[in-house]
Symmetry: C2
Subunit: 167 residues, 2 copies
Amino acid sequence: MDTNGGDELSHKMPGQELLSIGTVSERTGVARSALHYYEDVGLIASLRSAGNQRRYPRHMLRRISLITVGSKLGIPLNDIKRALEPVPMNTMPSEADWLRATAEWKRVLEARRRAIEELEDRLMGCIGCGCLSMQACTLLNPEDALAREGSGARRLEAADDEDLRAT
Amino acid sequence: MDTNGGDELSHKMPGQELLSIGTVSERTGVARSALHYYEDVGLIASLRSAGNQRRYPRHMLRRISLITVGSKLGIPLNDIKRALEPVPMNTMPSEADWLRATAEWKRVLEARRRAIEELEDRLMGCIGCGCLSMQACTLLNPEDALAREGSGARRLEAADDEDLRAT
DNA sequence: CTAAGACTTCAAGTAAACTTGAGGTCAAGC
DNA sequence: GCTTGACCTCAAGTTTACTTGAAGTCTTAG
């Protein structure tokens, strides 16, 4: 049963222990099939035992956790992959590696967090006080500048600002 | 061109104007095909013109905007639908209607916002200071209580708390 | 009244992110 | 050394959230 540790790849050196896919799945909450998939698309990597079974270094747990959180926040795996590119998979990532990756994440996460906060405000505060304007949401208007000031000469509505206001 | 207003359904009464699908699509940034789809799955509804074309009351814009934001945050449309169930579609929703729906949203959004903040902290702060524990993340451990205290007698790892800590 | 563009339905196709299953191999406790 | 459960690959299937296209109808500026 307990497949991890004990074969020729893991010499019980501290900091060198390798984890089986079952162990990783259990600890991260990510299904084995999903781990296979992540490997297929290059999001993660694994060493192999003599018998071709996956063996994960411990630092992969961290990477997988980040993937899970990002994924649950609706960030496409492809974007996550790009953000994690500066973090090495074959060696233990250094602090500098993580910090480099962090710049990307910070941008994306900050935008999402702000969008949520705006939505919360709007739902909690503004509905309560009767002001329902939804003009400035960053998630709603990603590149509205283009759409509004764009090439075509659309002149359909004049009092456009009133559209999303209540009563 | 300009299809909205002008037929027997819209009498130019203030607060009664109905919008064509094209207009709604343009103002919300949601594709027509997506609006069709949302209607199919019951997320939104539309009145019809004499010639069977969709006509949206203005308050649908608000509903659609909420759907868009939720969707971009990775909330499944089914969950969004459930959260929006207390908000009527056939009549102009009252403040009370929105407030009822808000309770649901608040829960979900709050959880997501916290998760992002934790992740930001972890990426920005904790990586910087060398502390990399990722134990308490709400998105990572949704119902870990069950997994940890559950039925089976798994006793694989003893020093489990050390797993996700760096160096 | 008519032509152009906006709209209709319905069916089928697509992309992302997995899951499931078949058929076979590996690892380890007894 | 063998059985049992964990693992392997590869192909196909599933779900969600749409998009695309065909074939036809509606609406309105001129």
